[in-house]
């Protein structure tokens, strides 16, 4: 695709069971900023079956235009028909920028789409901005490039990436990092219906069964207070102490990879590089050593309070308040004090 004819900031709208996922609103928030810098507009690409009714909600969070690809074959997410849908939109409408959530869906769809349209894709971005970049072989820097910043090496380094010669400039964006806009009630977007036609082929997989997680799906990314436990909590039973504290203080329990891998807490509660990025007002790190893979997902929290019996645990390097001691004894005492305060305070 020639560079000049590509215009506009596009986002892929992830929806599950015909409910828009939060990441889509976060992407709209960022897309609105990028579009303002480029003096262009924001287009949301909504793919699914019977999804047209969700367009107004996208307008309320910043979409100027909504392209709707609606087809029965798109009822559930499957790689091939969704790739065909998004690729066809790109070829027809020629976006300059396309943002996709770095979710279990977006990290499947994004790379397949980028390979089909032969462009670059930068994964798991945490910062996106418009700026200048002198590409390899160029004498002068080019203006208006999408500069995509992402952690690499388990969070040890940060790299900024550009995609100067191919369009669209594609990025997947980590959930929980970008801010959504205030909702503008009554906003309307231009709706464009587009169906490229779907023909099943060998790349279509068959969905034999859908098994929803039985655990209560709590969104740890929207919690204001997280009580997070790690290996030091010791067992699934001991997590009850953290649940008590969370209940007393109005928080939610999350966990480290070690705790999720041990089966003490479900995977959707895991914070970190392979889990979720969170930035609550208060983050309790209870018995979490603080490997960089974990801290990469929580260090933007406003207040970090860490309890660990190892004074050399790396979590203390990023904690605002560190307490060296036995978390299994300290946590119940704290819970008791908080309850007492609310009862008698």
């Amino acid at each position: 695709m020639s560079l000049k004819q590509c215009k506009g900031v596009y986002i892929y709208v992830q929806q599950t069971d015909n409910k828009i996922d939060n990441i889509a609103f976060e992407l709209l928030g960022k897309a609105t900023e990028l579009a303002a810098d480029l003096v262009t507009d924001v287009t949301a690409v909504l793919v699914g079956f019977n999804v047209k009714g969700m367009a107004d909600e996208l307008a309320a969070y910043g979409a100027d235009k909504v392209i709707v690809v609606d087809d029965p074959v798109l009822k559930e997410y499957r790689t091939e028909p969704y790739t065909h849908a998004l690729t066809s939109v790109i070829k027809e409408f020629k976006p300059d920028i396309l943002l996709v959530g770095a979710t279990a869906i977006g990290r499947d769809l994004g790379p397949r789409v980028s390979a089909r349209v032969a462009t670059g894709l930068t994964a798991d971005c945490t910062v996106l901005e418009i700026g200048e970049f002198k590409a390899r072989g160029d004498k002068e820097p080019r203006q208006g490039q999408l500069l995509m910043t992402r952690p690499a090496f388990g969070g040890n380094t940060i790299a900024t990436i550009a995609c100067p010669n191919h369009r669209p400039q594609m990025a997947t964006v980590r959930p929980g990092v970008m801010q959504k806009q205030e909702k503008m009630a009554g906003a309307k977007a231009e709706i464009v219906e587009f169906n490229p036609g779907f023909e099943a082929n060998d790349k279509y997989v068959e969905i034999m069964e859908i098994v929803k997680s039985v655990s209560d799906t709590v969104d740890i990314q929207t919690a204001k207070i997280l009580v997070s436990g790690g290996r030091g909590v010791g067992s699934a039973e001991n997590f009850a102490l953290l649940e008590d504290l969370a209940a007393a203080i109005g928080g939610t329990v999350s966990c480290s990879r070690a705790a999720a891998d041990s089966g003490w807490k479900p995977k959707d509660r895991q914070v970190g590089q392979t889990g979720k990025t969170v930035r609550p007002d208060v983050y309790f790190a209870i018995g979490i050593s603080g490997a960089i893979q974990h801290t990469a997902g929580m260090e933007e929290s406003d207040i970090i309070i860490a309890v660990n019996k190892d004074p050399d645990a790396p979590i203390f390097d990023i904690a605002d308040y560190g307490i060296v001691g036995d978390c299994l004894k300290i946590v119940p005492r704290l819970t008791q004090a908080i309850k007492w305060r609310y009862l008698h305070g």
Binding site: R107, T119, A152, M208, R341
Partner: protein, 261 residues
């Protein structure tokens, strides 16, 4: 049944990470391991081999020393190893890497291609899906469990709050999650055999149906603007709780001061 496992030698991110002046990785200067997700992919392949006697071939692209992970894979039970190495392939992004591996795979027979979901250095999870696209194959990523089923496979595909049981036709590409299994150890006999085993080495000339303009640094659509070390947040205040009550009180006071409670 022929299975190919695509794997990557990665720097151990627990050790130091080093860069060349141009901002690309100085892989030669770092300690390396077999990427954990790929090791789970290998284990998934070896389990199918245990059941059906499938042939397992491992392939990697990298520096000549990436041969180490192929030997490790063979010591675990893989049958063959292919190393794709060439100066012109260096500095590749995921597009150029997947183009290269697809070019190598076009030379061999396969029913199933397995990769790890993602590598711990780049964490992109892109190369597996992009290989599937280049070879025009069905793709199932984020796989927890793989079962053969006649001429196809049945895979549990993980999402955030659910999983789908999917059936795909073979040949197919599957990317595997590290937590889906516990990889076996190398066997002593296997280690001896692997030391002597012959590794097939391919270069640029051995890649089928790929254009030079899609390879290596020059063939990468993405370019590095800059790479920098993370600036860490400073250390806060710390105390040692001689008694649990002392620790609890300290936290309680902070929560009051900050108006959390």
């Amino acid at each position: 049944m022929k299975i190919v496992v695509c794997m990557k030698q990665v720097p151990d991110t627990k050790g130091g990470v080093k860069f060349k002046p141009d901002g690309t990785l100085d892989r030669a200067a770092m300690l390396t391991i077999m990427n954990p997700d790929d090791k789970a992919g290998l284990e998934a392949a070896l389990r199918i081999k245990d059941e059906t006697g499938a042939e397992v071939t491992c392939i990697t692209m990298g520096l000549p020393k990436a041969e180490d992970i192929l030997r490790e894979a063979m010591a675990m039970g893989a049958d063959k190893g292919i190393l794709v190495t060439d100066r012109v392939l260096g500095g590749a992004d995921t597009w150029a890497t997947s183009t290269t591996i697809a070019g190598a795979l076009r030379n061999i027979d396969y029913d199933l291609i397995i990769t790890g979901r993602q590598a711990i250095d780049g964490d992109t999870a892109q190369v597996g899906p992009q290989i599937a696209e280049h070879l025009d194959l069905p793709l199932i990523s984020y796989a927890q469990a793989i079962k053969l089923d006649g001429g196809g496979i049945i895979v549990n595909r993980q999402y955030d709050d659910r999983y789908h049981v999917l059936r795909a036709k073979l040949p197919c590409v599957v990317t595997v999650l590290a937590e889906s299994n516990k990889p076996r150890y190398m066997t002593p006999g296997g280690i001896f055999d692997a030391c002597d085993a012959e590794i097939t080495t391919w270069g640029r000339a051995d890649l089928k149906d790929v254009d030079d303009s899609n390879l290596g640094l020059a063939g990468s659509p993405t370019q590095i603007v800059k790479v920098f070390d993370k600036v860490r947040k400073g250390k806060g205040s710390m105390m040692t709780a001689e008694t649990p009550g002392e620790g609890a009180e300290y936290i309680f006071k902070i929560l009051c001061e900050k108006h959390v409670i």
